[in-house]
């Protein structure tokens, strides 16, 4: 566990009655290193350990508690606090999707290439059918990747959900027409699957921003791969600047990536991580729990 791993670094705190600037120096360095090894962005990690140092300094070591364990608890609690977002939970503590009654609720999925958007669109549709008894419409707005439309159609068929697609069109047109189709088809939820794009591709970032302006989504979700490294800070910031993000979905957490990107993305965008992908199957989408993520990041 973390206390054992950092036994050497925490030697200077052991036996102390108070956590001071001097005796937490090694421990703080060890935490920063652990965060970097977990792929937390460097600037985010630095800011985090500074906050932790401030919280730890002057803390009276609780009697009967190993000071190292107390320090770890401060780190853990601070990580959990950073990745939590109580406003994104309902009264029962479940992740909230901003449903509207006035028209079909629109959910826009965006993110870098290969992050898991198309698969997650289907997963989210299935989850909301089960949880909220909605009648979703999946929209194949990726007209650039070979067989992307086919991929969504196959997934839609697997879960018994309609897929809206157009042959020769453009993504914004498909999305606008999908809204009209949804009304006629009595769908109360629309999930827009968009093409993967680089945050430095100006034309494509403009396109997705245009889709958001056109469809005014209740939810704009950034789909991010859990194994993303330092670059998460750049892509998350760019997507947050160009889109009215309402949340993040972190995918492929069934792997062994420590997932530091979770902390980076939350720190940089302030938007809640709502769900996590934990496999390729439709049912493998779960609600995000900050305390589980904190433990995973710390290793």
């Amino acid at each position: 566990n973390l206390t054992e791993r950092f036994r050497e670094a925490f030697k200077s705190i052991t036996g102390q009655s108070k956590l001071t600037e001097d005796n937490v120096k090694d421990a703080v360095r060890a935490i920063k290193r652990a965060l970097l090894e977990a792929d937390v962005n460097l600037a985010v990690a630095k800011r985090f350990v500074d906050d932790v140092r401030d919280k730890a300094l002057g803390a009276e070591v609780l009697s009967g508690v190993n000071p190292a364990q107390q320090f770890i608890k401060i780190v853990h609690d601070e990580l959990v606090a950073l990745m939590s977002d109580p406003s994104s939970r309902d009264d029962e503590g479940r992740v909230r999707i901003n449903f509207t009654r006035s028209r079909p609720t629109v959910v826009l999925m965006a993110g870098l290439q290969g992050s898991g958007k198309t698969t997650t669109c289907a997963k989210l549709a299935a989850l909301l059918v089960k949880r909220n008894k909605v009648k979703p419409l999946l929209v194949a707005a990726d007209l650039q990747r070979p067989a992307a439309v086919e991929q969504l159609k196959v997934l839609g068929k697997q879960i018994g959900v309609d897929v809206y697609a157009e042959e020769k069109s453009t993504p914004p047109t498909v999305c606008r027409n999908a809204l009209d189709f949804a009304r006629k088809n009595a769908n109360d939820l629309i999930i827009l699957d968009t093409a993967g794009r680089l945050h430095v591709d100006e034309a494509l970032m403009k396109e997705v921003s245009e889709i958001a302006k056109l469809t005014e989504p209740e939810e704009v979700l950034l789909v991010c791969d859990a194994m993303t490294g330092q670059d998460a800070v750049k892509s998350a910031k760019a997507f947050d600047e160009r889109l009215p993000l309402t949340g993040v979905i972190l995918t492929k957490l069934d792997g062994d990536a420590r997932g530091g990107a979770a902390l980076t993305v939350k720190a940089v965008t302030g938007k809640p991580i709502k769900f996590i992908g934990v496999g390729e199957k439709i049912e493998q989408l779960e609600e995000f729990f900050p305390d589980r993520m904190a433990g995973r990041i710390l290793g």
Partner: protein, 278 residues
């Protein structure tokens, strides 16, 4: 030597941070700084102004040790197995390899070995049509090893120069899927002697330290011989390949610079290292 002059610690810290931000990893970056300190003490680096050029030269040298050319078969088809985690860019990278080989006048055959994911076969079939090369496909849900087998048989029978086998994305932590890949690898070797001649691991440039685990585990079951570093047209630097080079020694052979089949380049160590610090 710096005549007993202390090394510029601020500069070292800046360089170390640049490497961490390039996804080289905190331990590898630290080891590299130790190498620089040794070189400074040993007189290999004379002034502070020489530190950065020394570092770049060292990295370029490391990454240039291995050949970036593909190992070709002495006779018969060259078999290239393409592997990697979900969404890394395998299928698109295969299209790029097929294009480059076709441009070189080789007769290329593709095998749609991802029999699992929705529309995976259709995706590769579309690419084969755009490039103008043949493709072997199996029934939906077919055993990937059987598609690899059919690909190898046809490549030999119809005298193809190159066979490139696509596989389903898989996380290296999924034992059953890694066993499945080991079976594909074994079957290839049974049909074509010394095959696969190359096992290419496609790595997403945005991947952090997990890339090292991927390289290790995929090498264990399928003998990775080269890396295709995809999505290098983004802002990620792909520094994890430096750590892979240091600990496992797998060379980067190609980089992916976009979503079209032409967006491929053979790996250029000098350009890669310069870009790390930009």
């Amino acid at each position: 030597v710096g005549l007993g002059q202390k090394i510029d610690e601020d500069l070292l810290e800046q360089l170390e941070e640049a490497l961490i931000e390039a996804d080289m990893g905190v331990e590898s970056a630290r080891l590299l700084m130790e190498d620089i300190r040794k070189a400074w003490k040993g007189g290999e680096i004379e002034t502070g102004a020489d530190i950065f050029p020394f570092l770049k030269a060292d990295l370029k040298h490391r990454l240039s040790r291995h050949p970036v050319s593909l190992r070709m078969a002495e006779s018969g088809p060259t078999v290239i197995l393409v592997v990697g985690v979900n969404g890394a860019g395998k299928t698109t990278s295969i299209a790029k390899l097929a294009w480059i080989m076709t441009q070189e006048g080789r007769k290329v055959l593709l095998a749609a070995g991802d029999t699992f994911r929705a529309a995976a076969v259709e995706q590769l079939v579309t690419w084969s049509k755009r490039i103008g090369c043949e493709i072997v496909t199996g029934k939906a849900g077919a055993d990937p090893a059987s598609v690899a087998y059919q690909g190898c048989e046809r490549a030999v029978k119809e005298s193809f120069d190159v066979l490139i086998i696509d596989t389903a994305g898989r996380l290296h932590t999924q034992k059953n899927l890694m066993d499945e890949l080991a079976k594909v690898y074994k079957v290839i070797g049974k049909v074509v002697p010394n095959a696969p001649h190359e096992t290419i691991l496609v790595l997403d440039s945005t991947t952090g330290q997990n890339a090292i685990n991927q390289a290790r585990m995929f090498t264990e079951v399928a003998g990775v011989s080269g890396i295709f570093l995809a999505k290098l047209d983004g802002t990620a630097k792909g520094g994890a390949v430096l750590t892979i080079d240091r600990h496992i020694g797998i060379p980067v052979k190609f980089v992916g610079l976009g979503e079209s089949f032409e967006d491929i380049q053979r790996f250029n160590a000098a350009a890669f290292v310069d870009a790390l610090f930009e």
